[in-house]
């Protein structure tokens, strides 16, 4: 391939293999950690904990799909979406309506949710992503607002403000996944596949193209990266994942109501991505953890919750750009140094 060039200083000899091994060890590291965490999570229902904790676990996993996908869009691809909860809601209602109103097999709801959200993302994304600048943020905000109105007003389909009732639970033959412990493994599996797929994406050629676009779109284009193409792909993919999360939500709660899917939720999801550590893979876990657990812990401070999130987000962006994940990495580095 490349010939040694004469007169070039300093060609540093043959390619040293240890450097390469080091890096592949890092890759193995991320994957291995994921598997360990995953297996650990499966323990939740098996430990015979009460239904409440298991439902928290289910919520955590669903929120992980939401925040993990949003983190890739914002943190790795540099596109701000303020409509993620809208795609979440679209997926929830699509899946719910399929079984509650159309009487179809609830299993169809899962892929249907992905498809519906993906199509909606195409409709919004194509015009919004052609432009330079963060117009996607506003376009998705407006889109979410419109969806909220639709969820509220299309009463025969969505049940309106009182919510969608009559969602049929998923079933394997005659075994209905009708309580938290039963549906947990499915949610666990889906979340695991999503997080694995996202990890694969980030570490791939496509992931590099994404990250290049986020840092310098001009340089990326000069290297043959079609920025619009990749932005659209990531936007549609993450919207489909949010849709999947929605279908899992509606199947684990057998209910959906418009207030869970408004643009305020979308904004909060962005705050969670920032708090967890945007652009860091582990950030999704921290973000989902905060999002799931904080409302429970802060129940007494309910009204102050949002202030804490908002101020926390600002603090993270100013002082801890890595969010909690970055802080975690810093601690890990200090620990390693202390041990050596």
């Amino acid at each position: 391939m490349a010939k040694p060039s004469d007169g070039i200083d300093p060609v540093l000899g043959p390619i040293q293999t240890d450097a390469r091994d080091d890096r592949s060890r890092v890759h193995v590291g991320a994957r291995a950690s994921l598997v360990v965490v995953w297996l650990a999570l499966l323990a939740i229902p098996l430990l015979g904990l009460n239904d409440y904790v298991v439902s928290l676990g289910t919520s955590f996993l669903i929120n992980l799909i939401l925040i993990g996908s949003l983190n890739v869009l914002i943190g790795y691809c540099g596109q701000i979406s303020l409509g993620h909860a809208g795609f979440y809601g679209l997926g929830a209602y699509a899946a719910g309506i399929l079984s509650a109103k159309l009487g179809l097999n609830p299993w169809l709801g899962l892929p249907a949710a992905c498809v519906v959200s993906a199509i909606a993302a195409l409709v919004i994304g194509i015009p919004a992503l052609r432009l330079k600048g963060h117009y996607l943020a506003m376009a998705t905000l407006g889109f979410n607002a419109i969806l909220s109105v639709l969820f509220d007003q299309l009463v025969p389909w969505t049940g309106g403000p009182n919510g969608l009732l009559g969602v049929k639970p998923l079933a394997l033959a005659s075994f209905a996944l009708s309580n938290q412990a039963r549906i947990f493994p499915l949610v666990w599996l889906c979340a695991g596949l999503v997080m694995l797929a996202l990890l694969n994406l980030i570490q791939s050629r496509v992931g590099r193209a994404m990250r290049a676009i986020a840092t310098s779109e001009i340089a990326a284009q000069s290297l043959g990266v079609d920025a619009f193409h990749y932005k659209l792909i990531v936007f549609v993919l993450t919207a489909a994942m949010a849709g999947l999360a929605g279908s899992l939500y509606v199947e684990s709660n057998l209910y959906a109501s418009p207030e869970s899917f408004g643009f305020s939720t979308s904004i909060l999801l962005v705050a969670m991505v920032a708090l967890g550590g945007w652009g860091r893979y582990a950030g999704a876990f921290f973000g989902a953890l905060i999002y799931t657990v904080a409302p429970e812990l802060l129940r007494t401070f309910q009204d102050a919750q949002y202030l804490i999130f908002g101020a926390g987000m600002i603090a993270v962006l100013l002082f801890f750009p890595g969010g909690l994940a970055g802080a975690g990495e810093g601690v890990a580095r200090l620990w390693r140094r202390w041990r050596s």
Binding site: A2, P10, R23, N200, R205, R208
Partner: protein, 260 residues
Amino acid sequence: MSDTAAALLDVRGLACRFGGLQAIAELDFSVREGEIKAIIGPNGAGKTTLFNMISGVIAPSAGHILLSGERVDTAPAFRRARLGLSRTFQNLQIFKDMTVLENVMVGCHTRSHCGTVRALFRSPRARAEEAGIRERSAELLARLGLFQRADEPAASLSFGESKLLEIARALAASPRLLLLDEPAAGISHDAALRVGELIRALNRDGLTVLLVEHNMGLVMDISHSILVLDHGRKIAEGPPAAVRNDPAVLAAYLGEDDDA
């Protein structure tokens, strides 16, 4: 001048207007395959604007740009890269959030294919392609003397090293024509000499180079042909010896000190 080599790049009647300012007007020139051509001229002559038009950052207001006879002036920048055009930037556009190696790996984008689906599933073909990309990028880094820094964040490189990284990255795309935007600006005299050597070596391997440069020593040393711009127009074109003594060129440069 005998045209034994075909024109790789053809610029015809190119013009660029920003509001009331005519940055480039009626520009015609060619870059022959296998040559090193330099664009020089006083500040404000329009050199970077010209580069930006050729690479696709700005659209020209008139004229054509042809790459191997094919019109590219309406093609977006990423398509020109796929047709064999690569460039570096005067204001470095290093991907600071990636490692040095990953920067070059992005450069391999046009020469690799695996798409999103294969990426999501990490298919065997994707894995094999990744290994190939990594190896190629490592070799390029080695060639440019940056291999030791491969796994470090690109933000930690010095200015001179960053310029080399941009070149390595641009080379990863296997270009036929490389546009270098002031490769010797801001680096030491010795480093500039090494850059000159690098360009000559790349050229011997078959790469056509078009560069914008202020370092006259470098330009006179390595160029086969020089294009001189002043106020957006060509005032001279030819081999270094001819251009060096061209009275119009001297007037343009010396005229800068003449504040009448």
